[in-house]
Symmetry: C2
Amino acid sequence: MAPIKNGRLLYKEIPDGYPQPGKHVVYDESELIDLDNVPLNGGLLLKILVLSIDPYLRNRMRDPSVRGFLPAFEIGKPLQNGGVAQVLRSEDPKYTAGTYVAGSYPFQKYLVAQASEVNGLRPVQKKGKLTLSAHVGVAGMPGATAYTGWKEYAKPKAGEVVFVTTGAGCVGAIVIQLAKADGLKVIGSAGSDAKVEYMKSMGADVVFNYKKTKVEDVLKKEGPIDIFWDNVGGEALDAALANCNKHARFIECGMMSVYNGDNAYQMKNLNYIYQFEIQLHGFIILSLIPKYPEFYTEFANRIASGEIKYNEDITVGLENGGAALETIQRGNNTGKSVIAVADY
Amino acid sequence: MAPIKNGRLLYKEIPDGYPQPGKHVVYDESELIDLDNVPLNGGLLLKILVLSIDPYLRNRMRDPSVRGFLPAFEIGKPLQNGGVAQVLRSEDPKYTAGTYVAGSYPFQKYLVAQASEVNGLRPVQKKGKLTLSAHVGVAGMPGATAYTGWKEYAKPKAGEVVFVTTGAGCVGAIVIQLAKADGLKVIGSAGSDAKVEYMKSMGADVVFNYKKTKVEDVLKKEGPIDIFWDNVGGEALDAALANCNKHARFIECGMMSVYNGDNAYQMKNLNYIYQFEIQLHGFIILSLIPKYPEFYTEFANRIASGEIKYNEDITVGLENGGAALETIQRGNNTGKSVIAVADY
C-alpha cells in the first residue's frame, strides 16, 4: 500500500486565555506513513482509535519556564494524552496484532513506538458497558482520579455532607456515585441546567447551576459540609472554607477556574483553614494509583455491570480535536470528552 | 481589709483594623472586691499574676455573626486568655492557698471562681529556667502549638528544608529549635533586624527580614522547601506554594496577615496545591494536646534545663494591656508577649 497521511494535532502557540483551534493547536497532514513497510525495530505499529480530552491539558500549554506537575508541551509537536489504540503490526512478542492497548499517546492517527516508550501501556478489552473509550474515562485516568482520591482522603462517615464541583464531569460524576454508596448527602454543582439534571440522575441529593445560584447560598442552606471535592478552586473553594465543619477534608483535584487566565477571584476565607482545622489534600493520580490496583479489576467490573454509570461527549475526527479542547476548557462539554480518531 | 479596686481590661468596641487601647479595649476600675470576705461558695479566690497576649486574640474581637473557632468576645466584658494565678483563699480541698495555677482567665486582677469554671486549670511550678510566666508561653498554649503541630504534621526527614514564618515569635522560635533538632535546614522570616538576629541565635540557617527582602526571592534561592510553618498566610503562603517540593507539608497555624483588615493580597499559586500534591494541615491546639501529654512533663523539663530557649516581652500592669495587644498585632513585640498583672 502507498504511504498515507498521518494526521496530527500540533501545539503551535502558548495561549493567553482559552486555547483556540487553528491558532494554538493546528491539525496537520504533512506527515506520511507506509503502514505495510514502516520499520518497527522490535516495536509496534499502533492505530490510534480514541484520545482523551481533559481539563488539565491546559496546564501543559503553559510557558515552559513556569513550574508544573508535568512538563509543558513542546511547540511544534503533537499534543499528548491518554488514549486507546489497536496493534496493527507487532515485532514485540508481548503484543499481537489486533490487541487493544491503552496508554499515553501523541495526538496522531498512527504511531510507531517501542512498548517501553509508551507510558502506562496496558492491554484493554470491551466488556459489557465498559466500551473501549471508557478506558480513557471512567475506567482510565479520570476514573482512577475519582476512585483513589476518594479512597485515600475522603474518610467518609454515613450521614456526612459532601460538596462536589463539576459534578457532571467525568471525575465529579464518579465521586457523586461513590459518595452516595457511602451513605452521604451529596451537593453537586455544574454550569448548565442539563448538567444539573445529569448530576441528579447520578444520585446527587442537592444540585444547582453555579451560573444561576451562588455557591455560598447553597452551602449556607444545605451545609455545613464535611468533605469538599474541588475541581475548580476560586469562589467555590472560598465558599467551602467558610461553610464546612471542623476537621473537614478538602480533596484538591484541580482548579479549573484558574486554568485560562480568568484568575481574578480574591480569596477571603483561607484563614478558616486553621480555625476549622481543615485538611487540604493535593494529589495527582500518578502517586495514588499504585496503592489501588483493584481499580483496574473490581472497579472496572462495576462499570461493566452498569453499577457505575457514565456518559461521553464524543468528537469525531482528530481534525476537530482543537475545538473539543476549547469546549472542555469553557465547560461546554456534557460527559467525558473524547476524540474518536477512527472507528472503534 | 476594706474592699479594693479589681481592675479589669474590658472589650468595648469591635475594631475595624488594629485594636486601639482606650477605644476598643478600656481599663476599668469600677469594680471593687473584698479579698477577706468575698464568699467563695466552695471555690477559689485567685490573684492573677500573668496574662498572655497572643495574635489569635484579634480573631475573638470580631463581629459575633462571623463564624470562628472560638466565640467572639462579648462587648462590655473583660478580654480572656491564658494566665497564671496564685490561690489566695480556697474552699476547694484540691487547691491550697499559695498554689500557682495556670488556666484561662478574664483580664482582671482578682477572680472568684469554681475550679470547674476555669478552662484548663492546672497547678504549675517554677523550676530552673521555667518561670511562672513561661507557663503561658513556651510551656503553655503557644509552646504546645509548636510542639504538637510539629509532631503531628511535619514528618521531617534529616536534610529537608523548612520555612518558618514569624520565626522570632513564641511559636516560631520553638519550631526553629525542633526543626534543627531533627536535622533540617531552617529558613526563618521576621519583620525586624533584631528579630532576624534572634532567629539566628535560635539556630536558624537562613534568616531574613521580610520587610526588606521578598520571600519569593529567598525561597527561590534557598528552597525548594519540604515543610512550611505558616503563621501569616498571604504573600508568604503564596511564595511557599510556588517554591516547594512535591508532597510538601504545610502546617497552617495562623494567618496573621489577614487578622487586622489588611487582607488585600491576591493569591496566585493555590493551583500548586494539587500540582505539587501539597498537604495543608489546619489545626488548633485544643484538638492535638490530648495526644501529646509529654508536653507538660518531658518538654517542660527541656525548658527548665535551658535546652529549649525562649524570651519574653513583658508589659507591666494590666492598665497597659491594651497597648500590648496593639503591639503584638502590629508585630512590634520581641519575644512572647505577657502582661505582668502583679509581681510574681
